[in-house]
């Protein structure tokens, strides 16, 4: 298999707003092989893919297809060269027929006009290669999502494809559909197609991929043959080992929590949401800092959103302070003191065009409604006190929130939520993308809040952060809680192995 790579990228570099999205990255794809690109959010996976599929231009670096240097000014050029991508639910046209989805752009013509009969036949051929038997004249929207994906793949391979990129192809598929997809992938592999399989489901990567490339923070960590890479090593490479980080020697380790006499704020029994989260039970105590640890896709965000009323629970019951609750809108949860801070700070958190003052008073004002406006003086008081308490910089209350750094934006969101005096707050990745100093600040803040009696659900991909901050840790894997861990006796290695299901490495 160590022949010439079909696709080779050397020293790729690309910057977004002055920061490296790709920093001297090398990457190779071989024919007849399934390759996986691994890395957490922001590692540079999608940037790299967009670079060789023509959606982005590299600032420097070389792309070679079958030994020849190439440059793709747009996706059409990459497709013509034989690089096809199947995105997650994006590049299909549900309002057109299956045949059109496969053939449009390359449709057979007769006297200059579309030959529908031949189009349907060609489409049927492409589908039969994949072993999919559906009517080419049917509307795409009449089929299940899994089938639509097969159609997208049929499109990708109906041209002369050399490289097939599958971007998170299994996120919406059930077990059987995944097995079907893998059969198709193996078929294509046997035909000599180079396949790039991007997924955060470790199990699947280990099942189908021959080779793994790991990226972290825009840099290449390494390229490995799958059988030679232990799961636990893979995760360590994705998340970064301890020695890479600045060791925070005086980091405050949360003292063990004394649960005697503490009330249960939230109790969940048998809650579930179809395709998002299977049956789950848990409890959160007053003043407890509950950490949710797990990899991307393990269901942490889904669980948190269900607990604080952002998503609707389909099965099971939620009890807050002993009272059964059913939330249909986040507003209802907020009214009884459950707050949520999303991991998408910019799109689901701050309002970039509003000032600090407006952002901080937003939730409070929303609580009061349209007509009972918070008096200007009161707003300014509130804003000033929170800016001071959380040390938000720059301190100008009339400054725009969009100009703040990530860390300060997170503090802004915290201020807004805390102004409501909540009883439980769920923080989804509050320290992601924040510099180390701000990280520590926020971690201290959260522990102080818990000490004062606020129940906190804390989600982070950084295991040692969760270990340091939480009173109790729930480990999630494949959308299920697999373990409860006491951070005072656990080690990073223990957490890593729980998160990764290490038995399979042997």
């Amino acid at each position: 298999m160590e022949a010439e790579p079909v696709l080779e990228i050397t020293a790729a570099e690309l910057r977004f707003a002055g920061e490296f999205a790709l920093d001297a990255v090398n990457f190779r794809l071989f024919a007849g092989e399934v390759h996986s690109l691994m890395g957490e959010n922001g590692a540079g996976k999608s940037t790299l893919i967009r670079a060789f599929t023509g959606a982005l231009r590299l600032e420097s670096g070389k792309i070679q297809l079958q030994g020849h240097a190439v440059e793709f000014p747009n996706p059409a050029a990459a497709q013509l060269a034989g690089i096809s991508t199947v995105y997650q639910e994006i590049d299909v046209l549900p309002n057109l027929t299956v045949a059109e989805n496969i053939m449009l752009g390359r449709e057979p013509r007769r006297f200059g006009f579309i030959d529908w009969k031949r189009m349907r036949t060609s489409a049927a051929e492409a589908l039969s290669v994949l072993g999919v038997d559906i009517d080419p004249a049917s509307r795409l929207s009449s089929h299940r999502l899994a089938t639509q994906q097969m159609v997208a793949i049929a499109r990708a391979i109906s041209a002369d494809v050399k490289v097939l990129v599958l971007d998170e192809p299994t996120s919406s598929l059930d077990q059987d559909e995944v097995a079907e997809l893998f059969r198709v992938i193996r078929e294509l592999k046997a035909r000599g197609v180079a396949i790039l399989f991007v997924s955060h489901f470790l199990e699947q990567v280990y099942e189908i991929c021959d080779r793994i490339t790991v990226l972290r923070n825009g840099r290449l960590v390494g390229e490995y043959l799958t059988p030679q890479l232990l799961r636990i090593d893979l995760i360590q490479k994705m998340l970064g080992s301890n020695s890479d980080r600045i060791d925070i020697l005086n980091a405050k380790q949360s003292p063990p929590m004394d649960r005697d006499g503490k009330r249960v704020i939230l109790r969940a029994r048998g809650i579930a949401k179809r395709a998002r989260l299977p049956i789950t039970d848990l409890e959160v105590f007053e003043g407890e800092l509950l950490g949710l640890a797990g990899l991307l896709g393990s269901g942490r965000t889904e669980l948190a959103r269900l607990l604080v009323g952002v998503d609707v629970i389909e099965v099971g019951e939620l009890t807050i302070d002993g009272v059964r609750r059913r939330f249909r809108k986040p507003r209802q949860a907020l009214n009884i003191g459950l707050a949520y801070s999303s991991e998408n700070r910019r799109s689901e958190g701050i309002i970039t065009e509003l000032t600090l003052r407006e952002n901080i008073n937003l939730a409070l004002q929303a609580e009061r409604g349209w007509f009972r406006r918070i008096p200007q003086l009161r707003q300014e008081e509130l804003t000033a006190s929170w800016i001071e308490a959380l040390d938000i910089r720059p301190t100008n209350p009339e400054g725009l929130a969009g100009h703040l750094s990530g860390g300060n934006q997170q503090k802004l969101i915290l201020a807004r939520l805390l102004a409501l005096a909540p009883r439980l707050i769920a923080l989804d990745e509050p320290t992601r993308g924040i510099d180390i100093g701000a990280k520590i600040e926020i971690q201290h803040l959260i522990t102080d809040l818990a000490d004062a009696g606020l129940a906190v659900i804390f989600i982070s991909a950084e295991l040692e952060e969760v270990l340091r901050v939480a009173h109790r840790i729930l480990v999630l894997r494949d959308r299920q809680i697999v373990a409860t861990v006491n951070p005072n006796v656990a080690t990073i290695e223990m957490l890593l192995s729980l998160v990764a299901k290490v038995e399979d490495d042997e």
């Binding site: 994006i90 590049d91 057109l96 449009l104 579309i114 072993g131 049917s138």
Partner: protein, 339 residues
């Protein structure tokens, strides 16, 4: 609805697929069939109420008197299918008519004037298309700009109507081809030709399918390598050219060019297209539906005249019908999504 399975089926399964295919096609035809049903109901209702309502003369007049709207609706269908809207068609129609009347009155030959009308329509369309695609202006605003521009230019040419005496142009409307009591004029034939050509383009050319694709999902269409930019601009050019043709028809019909023509016609056009089953959100609809929509509009006008009611009842009825159709469309879309 989604049991067309993924794995190999038996021959009988393939047969079942064929039958299911016919059923599925019918699902997307429902809006058009509904419009047709309403049309037939109104005709029957008129016949029952007034006696001799459905006559060859009346049916012929449906096409001939509304030929300009048929052409406009054809062009508008392209735009709406792509997810846009064109508010300029009434004004562009008036402008091209005014332009023609002026040029003819100073002796420019017809063979030059007619192509110029179409070119003028195409230019307005290009302007709107460029604004929509390259400057990212909302189609509503971009076409509104075109509308004001065209309307203003009308009155720049002349504040008053300009008579048209050119025999060729007049004969387009006056020359009648009789078959028994049925009749048709060259303008009616032009309208039918436009419908046939437009329907063909939408079903049998890559451009036509790209129009549907853009209406379905512009991002997907782009990622699939379809020429989205060109098509997005071209739909407005098509609409503009249709406005030019409609201008010719209207000028022939009224024997004059007048800056006040076609005020509000763009709204009648949009109503006809929507009643004909094309979703305003784009990506779904059939051209023949727009023809049915125009006929519905035409029958309503005739019914109002027969009833001796005030002409403003036209608009009220169209409004109610439009509301009903939009609501029905929502139900159909919601049902399809749930599947």
């Amino acid at each position: 609805m989604s049991n067309t399975s993924t794995v190999n089926t038996t021959p009988s399964g393939v047969l079942k697929n064929g039958l299911r295919r016919k059923m599925k096609i019918r699902l997307s035809w429902i809006p058009v069939l509904a419009a047709l049903a309403i049309l037939i109901l109104m005709l029957i209702g008129g016949q029952v109420h007034f006696g001799s309502f459905i006559t060859p003369a009346m049916l012929s007049s449906l096409l001939v008197d509304n030929a300009y709207l048929v052409v406009l609706a054809a062009g508008m269908t392209f735009v709406i299918l792509s997810g846009g809207i064109d508010l300029s068609v009434g004004a562009v129609m008036a402008f091209t008519g005014m332009l023609a009347a002026k040029l003819l009155s100073v002796g420019v030959p017809v063979a030059v004037v007619i192509p110029l009308m179409l070119l003028a329509g195409a230019l307005f369309g290009t302007l709107i298309g460029v604004l929509v695609h390259f400057f990212d202006v909302q189609p509503f605003i971009a076409s509104l700009t075109g509308m004001f521009l065209a309307r203003g230019l009308c009155f720049v040419i002349s504040l008053e109507a300009i008579q048209v005496q050119n025999p060729f142009v007049l004969r387009l409307q006056s020359a009648q081809l009789n078959v028994g009591s049925w009749y048709i004029t060259p303008t009616g034939i032009i309208a039918l030709v436009v419908i046939v050509v437009a329907a063909w383009v939408l079903s049998y050319t890559r451009f036509g399918r790209t129009v549907y694709a853009i209406g379905g999902s512009e991002q997907s269409a782009r990622l699939m390598g379809l020429s989205v930019a060109r098509s997005k601009i071209l739909v407005y050019v098509v609409s503009g050219v249709c406005a030019g043709i409609a201008g010719l028809i209207l000028t022939s019909y009224t024997a004059a060019g007048y800056g006040g023509n076609g005020v509000g016609t763009e709204l009648d056009t949009i109503a006809a297209v929507v009643i004909g089953g094309t979703l305003l959100t784009g990506g779904s609809g059939y051209l023949v539906g727009s023809l049915v929509g125009v006929f519905v509009y035409g029958v309503i006008k005739v019914l109002i005249i027969y009833m001796g009611a005030d002409a403003s009842w036209e608009r009220i009825t169209i409004g109610i019908l439009l509301l009903v159709f939009v609501v029905v469309q929502r139900f159909i879309v919601a049902r399809a999504n749930r599947n």
